[in-house]
């Protein structure tokens, strides 16, 4: 099971956190500080796993961002690397060559996509296409609601003129 997912920039800024196990706010801050200290200082050629408090943290760096997932000791680290890559590919397709800024300004989108990929710390979907389709469908629902609202407010505006 994945206990949490973190996206940390090379400067140690947190870009996304998703907790599947209960951690208090205090613990979360501590975890973030500890792990960014460990992971950001590791050399480039080293393996992508860090043993930490009886768990394993699998991380992978894409450009300036570190994607980290914390898993149980008996979980398959190599598979987690695939899941991270899977997520990055979906982000890439969604944003069209994703960069850190996309994830900063559209952080909620990154969360939506993650929610289509993982629930309860387990993988939900192995098809990138399906995830993309589901996200697109929900985005269009939001767009439709927006348009409807703006047309209503236009009507109200005209009526009250």
């Amino acid at each position: 099971m994945i206990h949490f997912v973190l996206l940390i920039s090379r400067q140690g800024k947190v870009r996304l956190t998703k907790w599947y196990s209960p951690y208090t706010q205090k613990e979360r801050t501590k975890v973030l500080r500890e792990l960014s200290g460990v992971i950001l200082t590791r050399g480039p050629k080293l393996c992508n796993f860090v043993e930490w408090r009886g768990y394993k943290v699998v991380y992978k760096r894409y450009a300036s961002l570190y994607f980290c997932m914390c898993i149980d000791h008996e979980d398959n680290e190599l598979e987690i690397l695939e899941i991270i890559h899977h997520y990055v590919e979906i982000l890439d397709r969604y944003f069209g060559s994703v960069c850190e800024l996309d994830l900063i300004f559209n952080f909620h989108k990154a969360y939506y996509i993650l929610d289509e990929l993982l629930i309860a710390g387990e993988l939900q979907e192995s098809s990138k296409k399906t995830v993309a389709r589901l996200i697109a469908a929900q985005d269009s629902l939001v767009e439709a609601a927006k348009e409807q609202r703006s047309s209503i407010s236009n009507i109200i505006a005209q009526a009250t003129k």
């Binding site: 998703k18 680290e77 190599l78 909620h108 929610d115 629930i119 609202r149």
Partner: protein, 880 residues
């Protein structure tokens, strides 16, 4: 009005925050935003809610408190529209966790949304439930989730399946409701549903043996078929990763098969073929393929034995181990740890490679490999493995040395075939990484050396040589110093030379050099220095020729700021200077340390061992002093009965020494006060002596006196032995050690020279008078300090016989402070033919208000009979 285009938008806020140059600036921006959001929340305007929560989520990610937005999330979730619900659920998952009370309020909304007609809204609710549901919510909403497992839309089914995992983890009792729906999911074709269904079954097996039995019976064949289909499926672009169709599904299927096959031969038989196929056919040039192989190997190792498959699996691990990719090597080491219980021989074959991994540059790999090597060690390979590890110790990273030395020491202790090998290896470790060796390890080494009587000479010579090259390793120095102290004579005489050794020429002064270096080195900590002092004392007797030089070194520590060192050096100096005749008895070789006790203590929950690190001088007296304290106790032969006590003459002398005991120098008192409890119980006489509440310092001094006066007809050593039960070793050592030294301290005179008679003159008094004894007090005061009085007590024997072992003791009330200087003698000639004098220094804190009062007790031997006289002195002149 359009909620997406007014005031500061989310985007603007993020820009503003990113533009901040300092943390303070950022805090200000965030504070302003939070204030605006709170205001907006108070207005209860539904149009801005959406954006407020989005902002709060960003602020939350930066680590600021955002609890005030929690209720807004609930309102968004309760709204009818999809966009509001979407952000509301996201906020719920981000800003809350399962322990918050607020979460209970959302149960109802969740229930409604789980029954919503819009499948995306159902999906949102499932996602939130799966990520943060509590046990209560799990109970309330389990029926909804159960129903959704059969929902027509596959995307809802897969979400429901993962939700069910969360529910059964929170409430395992609910597992049985999900067994049948979960089994139905295994027949699905949709990969998402299949993946989540397999995962659900795996988790059900973990919480419910019933579920395991059910799936094993009903589903094993089906799962094997499904896996076969996936493995043999043609290219499917949607699921293809590196030429493999859906590795995620592969992995989950193999994992579920493992759970089903574990401990069941029939089920294991069913899956043998397909596992063999996966193990042989999977491409291992990409990570995805390796992930499957890894899972497959683990399954093969876990299910019931099939020789052929195991060989296959071990071979895969062998390939992994020699892979250039660090990740693959890491998982290989991980797997080999599990494989070792199944097939130790097969893992042993890879020993060389694993040893290489211990030397890897990657900390994660090194750690894994070291754990594995530790498991691989046995009686037959301990020698080469230890050799390798110790060689690596020389070049390893500093931060890895701690782990590495701990493991090496543990291996050596566990598997050493003979003592000489143990000593050799430990010496190597100490020379290489002595600073990382734990206290237990070097203590154990000393115990072993002490027990190997034929190796004493060998050990001390080896340590001497090691010291020449590695004097910077603290623990090596300690062991070396201890051994040189104990077996120094064997060092210079090449006693008990083994065939394998080359004789070395060491003079006594060379041996003293070693100890001198270690005591003078500024990096040596208190433990080392104390041990060195004791070693010096021992050497002063072993090498009489160096006695003078040793005394010089000891004297240099008389001014040490550390109480322990100061006290010891003063004591030892006196031993060397004045008491040659007991010295050799004092510093006899230690009795053989009891291995069983040591091991028992080590096995105990909290060994009384202090961390090796150079502890700050704050906790010196009771903390760091412990290890060297034990040698000191034994050194004085006070604690053990089986050791020959000092010969009777020596004992008598000790008794004499004790006779003269009067007072410790002030500096000892803190250390001594620790012994208050123990001796007091044993000595009732003291209690009434102390009936005038005395201050701690005085009571402590009186107590030390009691030690000698309670001896009666017992030998002094025995009576000292009795008090060897104080709580801590160090106090025991100090009290026992300090006592006999009292008189020895003659050379040390802390009191200022007698003041000239400038102050007011007070009449002398007769403090005590009986037919046989008279005590007179003469008073003098130092000018300018009226509180202080120096009393010169003169004792005169009026009887016809000589008094021996004469001791005068005194106690005063709290407002007074009393210092007794050593008496001029402890033998009082008969018929007033001479007298003993003794200085008492009294400080009266209530000078001018209260006058002096004192209780005293005199003990002496008269015709070999113990006499005890007590009395109170009230006739002090006024104004003292």
């Amino acid at each position: 009005m359009n909620p997406f285009s007014s005031e500061t938008r989310l985007r603007d806020m993020i820009r503003a925050i990113r533009a901040c140059k300092t943390a303070a600036e950022e805090r200000a921006v965030v504070r302003k935003e939070c204030a605006a959001i709170r205001a907006s929340i108070n207005e209860n305007d539904p149009d801005y809610r959406h954006r407020n929560i989005a902002k709060l989520m960003f602020i939350h990610m930066l680590g600021y408190p955002t609890h005030f937005g929690q209720m807004e999330c609930l309102k968004l979730i309760a709204s009818a529209e999809f966009p509001e619900k979407r952000i509301g659920y996201l906020g719920l998952m981000l800003l809350l966790d399962e322990r918050q009370e607020v979460l209970m309020l959302v149960t109802n909304s969740l229930k409604q949304d789980l029954n919503h007609a819009n499948q995306y809204i159902v999906g949102l609710a499932l996602c939130a439930l799966g990520n943060i549901c509590s046990a209560e919510m799990a109970r309330d909403l389990a029926p909804e989730v159960e129903r959704l497992l059969q929902f027509r839309d596959p995307n809802t089914r897969k979400k429901a399946a993962l939700c069910a995992i969360r529910i059964i983890k929170k409430v395992p009792d609910l597992a049985e409701n999900f067994i049948n729906p979960a089994a139905a999911l295994l027949k699905e074709k949709h990969h998402g549903v299949l993946i989540t269904g397999v995962q659900l079954c795996t988790d059900l097996c973990k919480v419910s043996p019933e579920a395991l039995e059910h799936f094993r019976k009903k589903c094993t064949e089906g799962l094997v078929r499904t896996l076969k289909d996936v493995v043999n499926s043609p290219y499917a672009p949607e699921y293809d990763i590196a030429g493999i169709t859906d590795p995620f599904l592969h992995i989950r299927l193999v994992r579920l098969l493992r759970v089903l096959g574990q401990g069941n031969a029939d089920a294991s038989d069913l899956m043998n073929d397909i596992l063999a196929q996966v193990a042989t056919k999977t491409e291992s040039n990409k990570n995805a393929g390796n992930a499957i192989l890894y899972e497959c190997v683990e399954t093969i190792m876990s299910i019931e034995d099939n020789g052929g498959l195991r060989v296959l699996a071990i071979n895969i691990l062998g390939r992994f181990l020699s892979n250039r990719d660090n990740n693959i090597r890491y998982v290989a080491l991980n797997m080999l740890m599990k494989a070792i219980t199944v097939d130790t021989q097969a893992v042993q074959r890879h020993r060389a490679t694993i040893l290489e991994c211990v030397k890897d540059s990657d900390a994660s790999i090194r750690k894994r490999a070291l754990e594995l090597v530790y498991l691989l060690v046995n009686e037959s390979n301990v020698k080469p493995l230890t050799k390798e590890l110790i060689e690596y110790l020389e070049v390893s990273d500093q931060e890895f040395k701690g782990d590495l030395t701990a493991k090496i020491c543990s291996i050596i202790a566990k598997f050493s075939p003979e003592k000489i090998w143990y000593i050799d290896q430990m010496l190597k470790v100490l020379s290489e990484a002595g600073n990382f060796v734990k206290d237990e390890a070097w203590h154990a080494l000393i115990v072993v050396i002490s027990n190997a009587s034929d190796l004493h000479g060998y050990s001390v010579r080896a340590l001497y040589r090691a010291f020449q090259t590695s004097a910077e390793q603290e623990t090596l120095v300690r062991v070396a110093v201890w051994c040189i102290g104990e077996y120094g004579d064997m060092l210079i005489n090449n006693v008990a030379l083994l065939d394998i050794e080359n004789p070395i020429t060491v003079t006594g002064s060379d041996a003293v050099d070693v100890v001198e270096v270690s005591i003078k080195r500024h990096t040596s900590d208190l433990t080392t220095k104390s041990m060195s002092l004791i070693a010096l004392l021992k050497l002063s007797s072993r090498f009489p020729s160096c006695s003078e030089r040793i005394r010089d070194i000891i004297i240099q520590n008389r001014g040490s700021l550390v109480l322990e060192l100061q006290q010891r050096s003063i004591e030892f100096n006196s031993v060397i200077e004045k008491h040659q005749n007991i010295r050799s008895a004092l510093v006899e070789r230690m009795p053989v340390l009891d291995e069983a006790t040591f091991i028992g203590r080590r096995a105990g929950s909290s060994p009384a061992i202090v961390p090796t690190s150079n502890s700050a001088s704050l906790n010196l007296p009771n903390g760091v002093a412990k290890p060297p304290a034990a040698p000191l106790v034994d050194l004085l032969d006070l604690s053990s009965d089986d050791v020959p006590a000092p010969s009777s003459s020596g004992g008598g002398f000790l008794q004499d020494l004790l006779g003269g005991v009067d007072l410790l120098p002030g500096l000892n008192q803190t250390a001594i006060s620790g012994t208050n409890e123990a001796p007091r119980t044993g000595t009732d006489i003291l209690l009434d002596l102390l009936s005038i509440e005395t201050s701690p310092t005085q009571s402590s001094s009186s107590i030390t006196d009691i030690l000698s006066s309670s001896q009666g007809d017992k030998s002094p050593v025995a009576s000292l032995g009795e008090i060897s039960s104080p709580p801590s070793l160090s106090t025991r050592a100090t009290s026992a050690g300090a006592d006999p030294m009292m008189d020895l301290l003659g050379g040390f005179s802390p009191n200022p020279p007698m003041p000239e008679d400038n102050g007011p003159v007070y009449p002398s008094i007769v403090a005590f008078e009986s037919s046989s004894l008279r005590i007179t007090f003469d008073f003098s005061k130092a000018p300018g300090n009226p509180q202080k009085t120096t009393i010169l007590a003169t004792f005169t024997n009026m009887s016809q016989s000589i008094y021996t072992d004469f001791i005068f003791q005194a106690a005063v009330p709290k407002f007074l402070q009393l210092h007794l200087d050593p008496a001029s003698s402890n033998t009082l000639p008969a018929s007033g033919n001479g007298s003993i004098t003794q200085n008492l220094r009294v400080t009266n804190s209530q000078h001018g208000k209260k006058s002096l009062v004192m209780r005293m007790r005199i003990a002496y031997k008269f015709n070999n009979e113990d006499i005890l006289e007590e009395g109170q002195i009230n006739n002090f002149p006024r104004g003292l």
